[in-house]
């Protein structure tokens, strides 16, 4: 039987209603989730949309520019917030936090998935991030 274990699956997916979701993997029998869903995981995990809302589980500020490679951001560096976001009943995912000042962030803060322009500068390309729930645009 053919087995594609090398194909990279998208971790950020645009759904038909125009919103994005993070794609993880779910093994129902084990009750386990993975993120991202890598080619080698496909034997054990079914693709599943992850929850869009969660809470900040831990966070830090990245204050120095990571080395390139692998970092693909611009030379002009602006520190950024990074968090593990707890998606209840699923898992915690690592993501940037946006639309918030560092002194406003605390463990337990409710956040939701959003997208920001990809730091690699590719026009139209986006990357995932989370932002505070109460700051949602109406």
């Amino acid at each position: 039987m053919d087995q594609d274990i090398t194909g990279e699956l998208p971790h950020l997916v645009l759904s038909e209603d125009g919103s994005y979701y993070l794609q993880g993997g779910h093994n129902e029998a084990l009750g386990k989730y993975v993120f991202p869903l890598m080619g080698g995981d496909k034997e054990f995990f079914q693709p599943v949309p992850l929850k869009r809302q969660g809470t900040v589980w831990s966070f830090t500020v990245q204050r120095f520019r990571p080395k390139t490679p692998p970092y693909a951001g611009p030379d002009d560096f602006i520190p950024y917030l990074v968090a593990y976001v707890d998606l209840p009943g699923q898992l915690k995912v690592e993501a940037r936090l946006v639309d918030i000042e560092e002194e406003e962030v605390e463990i337990g803060l409710p956040v939701e998935l959003t997208v920001i322009p990809d730091i690699n500068g590719t026009p139209g390309s986006v990357m995932h991030a989370f932002r505070p729930l109460e700051k949602r645009a109406v």
């Binding site: 990279e8 971790h11 993880g24 386990k32 989730y33 993975v34 993120f35 991202p36 890598m38 080698g40 589980w57 831990s58 966070f59 830090t60 500020v61 990245q62 204050r63 120095f64 990571p66 080395k67 390139t68 490679p69 692998p70 970092y71 693909a72 951001g73 950024y80 990074v82 968090a83 593990y84 707890d86 009943g89 699923q90 898992l91 915690k92 995912v93 690592e94 940037r96 560092e102 463990i107 990809d118 730091i119 690699n120 990357m127």
Partner: protein
């Protein structure tokens, strides 16, 4: 099975040595270790060694002597030294050889490590978007830990203050000037809550250990520090380790907890028996976490332990007596073996101004690194 122990130790000073390659530091350490136990290179029957980024250990036979010795290269990330030590010890315990060498060395460029995602089973975007940093992981792990167990920023500062104070008396350490608590707490933030003086830096160095059976050690009249346990473990299900795009909801266990427990079981002794310990201190936060993950204290007790100075050189359980990674820097291939080197020196009573008092008899070491590997040892004299 045959008892195995360490009879010779050698180290090339950690830090920066312009004009000397990583492998040359390894060779320097091997010569020191041979001289320490009055052996010649031709007496070494087999060797395991490695570096993370500075080449193949077995090529050092060109300088040490083309004796035809069996020499196996090890590449096991932060557990490289620990894995080499395990292999040498196991071979001697099995009775196959009497005298073996474990050697580790490295020479890293300045600044944070820049691992590439594909080498760690991760998608490219993880590195491209700025998540693939060990400092980021350690910062978020200690941030949550401090929240869960009421650990203050003061404790982070106390760890670093101790590291620099101990290193002042360690000839092989890199940063040997004491740094005051105030200076540490006012140093620039790198990855909150961790500041500049709370992190170790990639560095250079080499360490060599000569191991032998107890019988052989007696024959050649070398001091014998018994290796009660040398264990390496990878991460279990549900652990929270470095380079993790996600963490399972039920966090339980770690590579460190598995390795330390296995070592306690094998040696038949536990933390209450230790007279000193070297534990992985990639930053001040990880020393705090690893105090508990190695069973040296309970989660949350660190705040009081550090306030009372229990892990200082004259405390109840001195930790990182040569300043650890924070003051010695981290040449990946050599780092775990440096801890064992320091324990041997301490158990022999040769540590000079940093000597742990009251004749220490049992010493523990623990190294940890990406992507969730840990190697520990228990030494006894």
């Amino acid at each position: 099975m045959t008892d195995v122990g360490i009879i010779g130790v050698g180290i090339h000073p950690f830090g920066r040595t312009e004009g000397r390659s990583g492998i040359d530091m390894g060779i320097y350490a091997v010569r020191e270790a041979l001289s320490d136990c009055n052996l010649n290179w031709e007496d070494v029957q087999f060797a395991y060694g490695g570096s993370d980024a500075s080449g193949n250990a077995d090529t050092m036979v060109k300088q040490l002597g083309l004796s035809g010795v069996q020499f196996v290269n090890v590449k096991n990330g932060c557990a490289t030294g620990g894995s080499a030590l395990y292999a040498v010890a196991s071979t001697i315990k099995a009775g196959e050889y009497d005298v073996g060498l474990a050697v580790g060395f490295d020479k890293h460029p300045r600044g944070a490590f820049n691992p590439l995602p594909e080498e760690w089973g991760l998608p490219d975007w993880y590195g491209a978007q700025g998540y693939m940093l060990t400092t980021q992981f350690f910062a978020m792990k200690i941030k949550r830990y401090m929240h869960d167990f009421n650990i203050s920023d003061m404790s982070l500062g106390r760890i670093s203050e101790k590291s620099f104070a101990n290193a002042e008396h360690a000839e092989h350490a890199w940063r040997r000037s004491p740094v005051s608590f105030e200076e540490i707490m006012e140093s620039p933030m790198v990855n909150d809550p961790l500041r500049k003086y709370m992190f170790c830096s990639p560095a250079e160095g080499g360490v060599a250990l000569i191991l032998a059976s107890e019988k052989k050690a007696r024959e050649i009249g070398a001091p014998f520090i018994k290796l009660d346990a040398a264990i390496m473990r990878t991460r279990p299900q549900g652990s929270f380790e470095v380079f993790a795009p996600s963490i399972e909801n039920d966090i339980d266990g770690s590579a460190t907890r598995l390795a330390s427990q296995a070592a306690f079981d094998l040696a038949g002794i536990g933390p209450e028996d230790f007279d000193l310990a070297q534990i992985q201190d990639t930053d001040a936060g990880t020393e705090i976490i690893h105090m508990a993950e190695n069973g040296l204290c309970a989660d949350g007790e660190q705040e009081q332990w550090l306030a009372e100075g229990k892990t200082l050189l004259n405390g109840q359980l001195p930790i990182n007596t040569d300043g650890g990674c924070i003051a010695c820097g981290e040449p990946i291939g050599a780092s775990g073996l440096r801890q064992v080197y320091e324990n041997v020196v301490q158990l022999r009573g040769q540590a000079g101004a940093r000597q742990v008092q009251n004749d220490p008899r049992v010493a523990y070491s623990h190294v940890y690194g990406a992507p969730g590997v840990s190697a520990v040892t228990i030494l006894r004299k």
